[in-house]
Symmetry: C2
Subunit: 120 residues, 2 copies
C-alpha cells in the first residue's frame, strides 16, 4: 500500500482526529488535520514526533521555549514533557509514536480518541 499524504488527509473529516496511516515495529504513523489549541498533556513513556506536511504548528512547553514547525520540519517531544500543540490556521501533521499511545496522553477530555481510525 502506498500512502499519499495529500489524498489521505481528504479522508479525515475533523480536526484533532488522528488516523493511523501505517504501522511498523509496534509504532504508528498517524495523520491529523489540526486547527486551534489542543489540551496540555504529556505521554509518560512515549516520545512523539511531529512532522508538518502543510501549514504551521507551534508546540508550547511549560518550561522551555515554544517550537514552531513549518512544512518539511519535525521535532521530537520526549516522554514525560508536557506540551500543547497550537495551530492558528489548519495544519496537516504526520505523527510517529508507539501504537499504544493515547492522543491526549495523561488527560481524558472530549478530544481523547476512543476508537482508532485508519486511513483506507
Amino acid at each position: 500500500m502506498v500512502v499519499d499524504l495529500d489524498e489521505a488527509y481528504e479522508q479525515i473529516e475533523s480536526h484533532w482526529d488522528p488516523h493511523v496511516a501505517g504501522e511498523l515495529n509496534g509504532q504508528h504513523v498517524k495523520l491529523a488535520r489540526v486547527e486551534g489549541r489542543f489540551d496540555w498533556h504529556h505521554h509518560a513513556e512515549s516520545d512523539e514526533l511531529f512532522f508538518v506536511h502543510e501549514g504551521e504548528l507551534t508546540i508550547r512547553f511549560r518550561e522551555t521555549e515554544d517550537v514552531t514547525l513549518r512544512a518539511g520540519q519535525f521535532h521530537v517531544v520526549p516522554a514525560g514533557v508536557e506540551h500543547r500543540p497550537v495551530a492558528e490556521e489548519e495544519c496537516r501533521l504526520l505523527l510517529f509514536e508507539p501504537a499504544e499511545t493515547r492522543n491526549t496522553g495523561n488527560v481524558e477530555s472530549e478530544k481523547t480518541v476512543q476508537e482508532e481510525k485508519h486511513i483506507e
Copy 2:
C-alpha cells in the same frame, strides 16, 4: 531541536549514506540522498518505512509488483521481504526504522554503513 529536511539534506555529501536525524522510542529517523540502484537485501526483524520528500523512488520486490513513490508518499516494507530501492534521478528520502537496523540488512557490501552519522 527542529529538523528542517531541506537544510538537513545539505549536510549529506554522498548518495546511499543515511544520516540519523532523530531518535524516539528506540527508533531512528534517517535521511538519505539516493541515486542509482541499491543492493538487494532484507531486514530479518525490522519493518522499514520509506517516505519520499523530493524526487521519485522505486522499490523493487522479488515476488510482488514494484512500488513507486513520489514526494509526499510513503510505503512500509515488512520485515523479511527482500527489496531493492532504485532512483533514476536524485531522490531525497526519510526512513523510519529501529535504531539497530543496518542499511544493507542481511548483506555486507561497500554500501554498508560502518559508522553512524548524524545530522548536526
